[in-house]
């Protein structure tokens, strides 16, 4: 059982950390959107949010990131490596589905080849998540083996109770933060149990996901793909807002004779993702590209790492220009098992 401590509020965590001049990332209201941004004062933060439009994956795996600098002006090309150094950072108030995405991405970026940039950011960051007290019809975390108060990926999980907030201290990083915040008063496990019961009622959309990988493996050519996914228009909105999608492209971008090699987000839903230099594209139709997204998330990745490449945050459904509903595709598959 994780250590339970009482905590005044998520805002108090931000206040304390900013007063200690720590780098804090928290949800900020930006026009109509909520975004995760670095904050200097607790007044900038808005925890009364449902979910930030973009996930926080960009803080670990940015949309674009320089990996080395080069110049070709002299006789021999010059290469200069980027220094890898990141300040100690605290993410405060992300949702458990976003925190749970981090161990999923860790497996990819720290597997056979360790992505030093990603690892350095992960190592220097402490995650303080905030359990959900609201959900919409696009949330489906419970079907992905998670819950609105899942501890996966968090160092501290903050849970709202009837009286205030509880901090569930889950890791060494979490313990270090708890002592930095000077949390002493013990929380009640009965309060935690009660909040878990109310959290379990939040998510109404539920389907059986266990048999999905097996079905996918043997139904690659099923008419379902064409029927349900032809409407996909081939943008990358779903993959870019996804906290677990992690495909990238490496590009050299020179200005004159010098430039930078960059690692940029890429997406299997885009036409050029599998386009060959010859002009041939093995995924020539959009439904085949969308199928790849589902296969990667619910067959290939689980096959390799034993988990779904999805936390059920529902962002891809909310953002889709043509209302292509990933959960609906999974529900349809689930109904056939």
């Amino acid at each position: 059982m994780a250590k339970l401590l009482k905590i005044e509020s998520p805002e108090s965590v931000v206040e304390k950390l900013t007063s200690l001049e720590k780098r804090v990332i928290a949800p900020v209201r930006d026009g109509k959107l909520h975004r995760f941004l670095p904050v200097k004062r607790k007044e900038e933060v808005d925890f009364g949010y449902f979910q930030a439009e973009g996930s926080m994956k960009g803080f670990f795996f940015p949309a674009t990131e320089g990996i080395l600098k080069f110049s070709t002006g002299t006789k021999m090309p010059q290469v200069e490596e980027h220094e890898i150094e990141f300040p100690e950072t605290f993410v405060v108030g992300c949702r458990p589905c976003d925190a749970a995405a981090l161990p999923i991405q860790d497996k990819v970026f720290e597997w056979d080849y360790v992505d030093e940039f990603y690892k350095a950011r992960r190592d220097s960051t402490t995650i303080v998540s905030l359990a959900c007290t609201c959900a919409d019809n696009n949330c489906f975390c419970t079907s992905m083996g998670l819950a609105p108060d899942s501890p996966e990926g968090s160092d501290i999980l903050m849970v709202k109770t009837e009286e205030g907030f509880l901090a569930e201290v889950l890791t060494k990083k979490g313990e270090k933060l708890a002592s930095l915040l000077d949390l002493k008063e013990k929380g009640s496990s009965e309060d935690r149990r009660r909040s878990a019961v109310s959290a379990s009622k939040l998510i109404t959309r539920k389907f059986k996901s266990e048999g999905v990988p097996g079905w996918l493996e043997s139904n690659f050519e099923d008419p379902l793909w064409e029927k349900m996914c032809t409407k996909c228009i081939g943008c990358a909105a779903c993959t870019f807002v996804c906290p677990t999608c992690h495909c990238f492209d490496i590009v050299d971008e020179p200005v004159g004779t010098s430039g930078e090699r960059r690692k940029n987000w890429d997406a299997c839903t885009l036409w050029h993702f599998t386009a060959h230099a010859s002009g041939y594209n093995p995924r020539d139709m959009q439904h085949k590209r969308y199928r790849q997204r589902i296969m990667h998330k619910f067959d290939y990745y689980p096959d390799k790492f034993g988990k779904f490449l999805c936390t059920g945050c529902g962002r891809c459904i909310r953002v889709c220009p043509v209302s292509l509903d990933l959960a609906e595709v999974l529900e349809e598959i689930s109904s056939r098992i």
Binding site: A63, T64, F240, Q286, P321
Partner: protein, 294 residues
């Protein structure tokens, strides 16, 4: 209205005049959200609906981006007045002929800004801004028309917000767009949803040479968004889909409408109103202003 639509769709499919009807249906999970549907079976025509939640411009499915849909057979498309403007524009650009598509025009009182704004009733507050100055509430061209009686509304100046932005200094405008483009993640939802972005290979996908940096940084984002707006000059019909779908909520239509305003002022041209008027950027006229050539 939906009933009438279903009947037309059923007749078209039954008589084999079309192979597919492209329309709207409610999503399975959310009764307040619609999604494009391709009806090929007369039994599925009952799924078709039309209401203020029918946001998509379905004409994107008529372009060469979607050959798999046309392969099914001649398409019929449910089109609002603004969507019909895209069809006329595409015909003018030789993408298909008028007889290649059956237009099921729908009279439209306006659509909601986005699904989350729907309260069960359409008001000036929750209406998409393009609807507040719409002049084509009843489509100008169609093969079938559903709901021809649409109440008129008090028309707004379509360029009100454009003029507001233009009244600011160059520095302020630069700062405004810098803040907006900083949010761009280069997902290309704006491009993919646009009926006029049908290039087989978009300039942003070309790598030999790479004309536009694909990175989501200031240079790359400025280059991408401005080039896209320029390429739509005199072509964009103002359906507003790019702004609606942008996950970063960048007001892309502001850029497009400024160009629309200039086209109107300099060439007295508005895109998508007919299939005959020659588009200014494709046409030479002796009356063209050449004072800028020195």
């Amino acid at each position: 209205m939906s009933e009438e639509l279903r009947k037309i769709a059923k007749d078209l499919l039954k008589s084999e005049k079309v192979g597919v009807v492209i329309g709207y249906a409610f999503t399975k999970a959310d009764p307040k959200r619609t999604t494009p549907i391709f009806v090929t079976d007369t039994r599925d025509t009952d799924k078709l609906v039309f209401n203020p939640l029918c946001l998509n411009n379905l004409t994107v499915y008529l372009t060469k981006k979607k050959p798999e849909i046309q392969e099914v057979g001649r398409p019929a498309v449910v089109a609002k007045g603004c969507d019909v403007r895209s069809i006329l524009g595409l015909i003018k650009e030789f993408q298909f002929k008028r007889e290649d598509v059956v237009i099921i025009g729908v009279g439209c009182e306006g659509v909601v800004k986005d699904f989350s704004h729907w309260t069960g009733k359409l008001t000036r507050e929750n209406m998409a801004s393009k609807c507040l100055y719409c002049r084509v509430r009843v489509p100008t061209t169609y093969d079938y028309l559903v709901g021809e009686e649409v109440p008129s509304i008090e028309e707004q100046d379509p360029f009100k917000d454009v003029k507001e932005l233009l009244s600011k200094s160059v520095e302020e405008r630069e700062k405004f767009w810098k803040n907006q483009f900083e949010k761009c993640i280069r997902c290309y939802a704006c491009r993919q949803v646009c009926p006029f972005c049908y290039c087989h290979r978009c300039i942003s996908d070309k790598t030999m040479p790479r004309w536009i940096e694909s990175s989501a940084h200031e240079r790359g984002n400025f280059a991408w968004n401005i080039i896209r707006a320029m390429h739509l000059a005199g072509r964009c019909v103002g359906c507003g889909e790019c702004s609606r779908v942008c996950p970063a909520e960048i007001p892309l239509d502001l850029l497009n409408r400024e160009i629309e305003r200039e086209m109107k002022e300099k060439f007295e041209y508005t895109a998508g109103m007919d299939t005959e008027t020659p588009p200014p950027l494709r046409t030479y006229s002796e009356k063209d202003d050449d004072s800028w050539i020195r």
